[in-house]
Amino acid sequence: MNVRRFMAVLRKEFIHILRDPRSLAVVFLWPVSMVFLYGYAITFDIREIPLGLLDQDRTAASRALARDLTASGYFRTAEILENRGDLSAGLMRGSFKAGLVIPPGYGRSSGRDGDTHVQFIVDGSNANTAQVAVNYLRMFCAVQTLAPGDAERNAGIGALPVSVQPRVWYNPDLKSSHFIVPGLVAVVMMMICVLLTSITLVRERETGTLEQILVSPIRPAELVAGKLVPYILIALLDSALVVLFSIAVFGVPFRGNAAFLLAAALVYVFCALSLGLLISGRAKSQMVAMMASQVLTFLPSLLLSGFMFPIASLPKPLRALSSFVPATYFLKIIRHVMLKGTETAALREPFLFLLAFGLVVTMAGIRQFKLRLED
């Protein structure tokens, strides 16, 4: 490893990036716009579900129920209904997603023997919304039954055999942005690093500059390192940018050790870059390199890493696959560090995996790199 040659490649790579507006856009605009898009668009929080209300009881108690339900913010009264016909017609039209029927006699039975019934009808054509609406209502009813203050309802507490009082730790409001945005660091880093590095070597081959470099005494390690380091620096800068963004814009907490996260990010970026170089050494054209890096990084990081869907809910073969996706491990680390402030010792395993992955792939990348044009 010769420092002069390494520095020469490093300096040249920086010039390439800084003089190419497209690279600059990928490096700086892309991560920020991804955070905005994903942070706001991918959300599992559903609020203000439009509700059709059919109050057949018309007592103080039924009105109180309807008021409390909409006061939660999860539902809003879209329509006051006169009869059941309106209810089915409204659901069909889509004027509301859920209907609440308070039957006659609700006020009378309420609070007695736990034998109070209301009917809740949900539009199941969007299963996700329907599920969320049902869950909200269940929680609401549980709280209603337990809620102190109303003498009549208080009488009902004794009727419940077990009282459940759920508390959610680390993310008490269950905001999905707190869950999504840190994970986004993992996805964005992987995509950018692999994309940028996968192009670098192929571009040199396409423009013929590789032929010119290869007749110099350069060693593969010098060329590879000189190409990796600038992107490592850029990627770390990007990660910091995204983390700061998620704190400032989405109010994501940062409870853990920043130095540890930086170290983990460094190792993670190293994994991504070595993967990019491996692709770059293989691909015949810049186009192929770009496609390969998208297929190999974007989808696995998005779908198999636990970024959006829990790994535990994946079918078995995919679960096995997910343990080979670096994003899986970094995702675990960054969520733990930011949301839980977990002790670093507990994250040793994912950290070591990332390190091993990066080393293996880099070795493969250097090995397959050729100092000749063919063979």
């Binding site: 010769n2 002069r4 040659r5 520095m7 020469a8 300096r11 040249k12 010039i15 390439h16 003089r19 190419d20 423009t207 013929g208 500059t209 590789l210 032929e211 010119q212 470099i213 290869l214 007749v215 110099s216 005494p217 350069i218 100092l371 000749r372 044009l373 063919e374 063979d375």
Partner: protein, 307 residues
Amino acid sequence: MQSAIEIKDLVKRYGNVTAVDGVDLTAAAGEMTGLIGPDGAGKTTLLRVLCGLIRFDSGECRLAGLDANRQTAAVRAIVGYMPQRFSLYPDLTVAENLRFFADLFEVSADERNRRLERLLKFSRLGPFSDRKASALSGGMKQKLALSCTLIHTPKVLLLDEPTTGVDPVSRREFWDILSELRGQGVSILVTTPYMDEAGRCDRVALMHKGRILLTDKPADVPKLFRNTLVEVECGDPARFAKALSGSGRFHSVQAYGDRIHVSGPEKAESLEAMIRATLAETGAGKPGRIGRIRPGIEDTFVELMAE
């Protein structure tokens, strides 16, 4: 004195295609050798083998005594190779490109500045040192590429069609630079499609279908011409040449500008009669003056390749 280039029975195959098929070529140190031949003759492959970019299959290939296959690192330290395609970084300036290659070859900082200055002066690129390579003219690009391959003062220079697509004035200037380099003792192997450039070499080698047909001093090449050569003046050389070569009566037919060179074993007078008869029969038209001329390098090569 050690030969700069020593090639014996060199073979290089790509799958079923034999690109270099038993080449013998030697060049003395300090000599400028011109490698001439049509596209696909194997010239580029030969140069790539010489600088260790591709392995050869059999035979011998040495540069300044070093084996191109096995002593690749040592070969690369003494060789300067300029590929046919412009292969510098278009987004780097002239000075940045030169500096990059100086660093790759570990030229010390002091020495680098001295050489940079000298090369910029020598290539007359000084006023453009801060210009991006992409903004240079064709001739300037080639001079920059040459300067980059000279940064480590190589002993042997391998140039692959360095002046193709370059305007005539820049071409002449480029060759003046090459002559200057040879004067400094650099051995040069250069491929070129231009015959006038071949004349400036110490020796020329004709390559055809992976073989070297002959190697000789440019002045001696025409002596190998065995047939009679006549020049036909005419209005439409392409049509006339087609009619003549289509007849199959002549050894070689080659169009040059508004003239056609025709060769054959017959005497000049009978050759002239045959040409007039053929043109009349095919209805190609009436030619102008026809007369015997002395063959040049290219005529000799055309004759050799026709055999």
